[in-house]
Symmetry: C2
């Protein structure tokens, strides 16, 4: 995405970048303050593999101004992503993440650290990829009160429910989701609603300003939904979806993740494939935002948009 948008970043925003570090499970940890060439890397020609290092040492060697954190979610702890982001901020780099774990487990700490270091901690890519959800509120919807939200935010369960509606068995539908690359080899985090619960918690913490914990989300996955039930409501013009819901109740927020029966006319019901949707109920009106069948570049764009928000004056 940085390569694809390089000319536009230069011309429209006067922003230039240099790739000075790269760390993946596959390729090890590489740092070079003079810059790594992105095109060979995109073509699979990686720099010589180096042993795993301490994240601080790696960031220092790279002389990082910005860290993009895109490690896998560990729902129960948010680690090691939290440590990566803390290290970046402590070393005066902006910290941008596509991993929602740190919001759920360390939002206030990371936000305070960023404020103290006058750097940005940004996380637009964590929910609905690059669709501006978190960015919408301070600037797009000033002086509003968010009373609640409801969303269908998990692709795997979306694909599975759709395939069962079409007549496939649960097992075949799961295989289909795995072949599409949306479901993990161990799909428990999706099927049991953990992924949805983490997203709902992150949204409630940031947008409703309540320190809710993941354990407080009432969570029911889709495993107990029978294939017959899923198909029979479809004939009546309705659909089951795994819905996240949050509602302000005084000082706190009641948060649920569960299969819900939706009317076909509901914007949350008409989602296929990797599409997702969220409805925000504000004091002034209610709006829904739908993301249509995004690919992996949608997440990359979310990170790029945060990069621009961080480095622009």
């Amino acid at each position: 995405m940085l390569v694809a948008k390089e000319t536009e970043l230069r011309r429209r925003y006067d922003v230039r970048w240099r790739l000075t570090g790269l760390a993946t499970r596959r390729a090890g940890w590489v740092a070079d303050p003079d810059g790594l060439s992105p095109l060979p890397i995109l073509n699979g020609h990686w720099p010589p593999r180096q042993p795993r290092r301490d994240v601080r040492e790696w960031l220092e060697n790279a002389r990082a101004d910005v860290l993009f954190e895109a490690s896998s979610l560990v729902a129960q702890t948010g680690q090691p992503a939290i440590e990566h982001l803390k290290a970046a901020l402590e070393l005066d780099a902006h910290a941008i993440t596509a991993n929602k774990g740190p919001i759920v487990h360390a939002f206030r700490e990371l936000a305070a650290l960023a404020h103290e270091k006058k750097r940005k901690f940004l996380y637009e890519a964590t929910v609905m990829d690059g669709v501006p959800i978190f960015s919408l509120f301070p600037l797009g919807l000033p002086a509003t009160e968010l009373r609640g939200f409801s969303g269908v935010l998990n692709s795997t369960t979306n694909v599975i429910l759709t395939e069962i509606e079409k007549g496939r068995s649960f097992e075949d539908a799961l295989k289909r989701a795995q072949s599409l690359g949306v479901a993990e080899t161990d799909p428990a985090a999706d099927l049991d609603g953990w992924d949805s619960a983490v997203k709902a918690t992150a949204l409630a913490i940031v947008l409703m300003d309540v320190p809710i914990k993941l354990e407080q989300v009432q969570r029911i996955g889709i495993r107990d939904l029978s294939e017959d039930k899923i198909r029979s409501v479809r004939a009546a013009g309705m659909r089951y979806k795994l819905v996240c819901r949050a509602e302000r109740r005084g000082d706190s927020v009641a948060c649920t993740v569960q299969p819900e029966l939706l009317l076909a006319s509901d914007p949350l019901a008409n989602l296929e494939g990797t599409s997702s949707a969220i409805r925000f109920d504000l004091d002034v009106f209610s709006i829904s935002i739908v993301e249509h069948n995004p690919g992996v570049e949608a997440t990359a764009y979310g990170l790029l948009a945060d990069f621009l928000r961080a480095v622009q004056p």
Copy 2:
């Protein structure tokens, strides 16, 4: 809306306001730099009626820092709203409008004047009320290319098509829309697609940066759609909606307004009452935004949000 949000504006944004002028067809033109009391006015106790004055004289007497322009649309000229907004900017006041005519007929001129005077020309309330459409692009979706959009943006035709689907005649459906207060006594601007065409043109001019003219929009209203046709497709799970569509074609934009047959699963199809929706096709993904059954306070909020954007540092 200013009264309802007064405490929040003070506490959250340190913003205070004073109402120093008021001009309506009903109550004439009133100005008092010491401030008019809003609560009696909201209760129908208007200041003594004054004769209609020149807008410049009125703004000067009011010592206006901000003008809220909410006159009715004159699709063919954009007047007198353009003159009102120009006068405000020339007198160093921010110019905020809910009237889309000035965007269609004088966008570049007003934007240039605002830039020159270091004041804001803002217009979020012109399309989908206070839903952040125009605000979304510079900040929420940086470095994207908008390739096209499609929207259902007119309430009157929405209500009429829904009522015909339910079995009412065109005439009864129109009366229903008028009794709901969404249709004008002369509903031609809605039925013939003028309102939709003005909105599509405004969106194309601002978001796609092309100087398209209202006459370039290919426009077909809903008058020639037969009641039978509308009802028969409904039975097949489809709906007619009056759709605005814009698509980039090289340096220009092809823009249409016409009744289109939509699948029930389309977010643009599932709109009742005053709801509206728009889909944006960007290079990085496609998103839809739906506004659910807003009332008149949604437009007022749009003006308030622009007010905050104008006066905040």
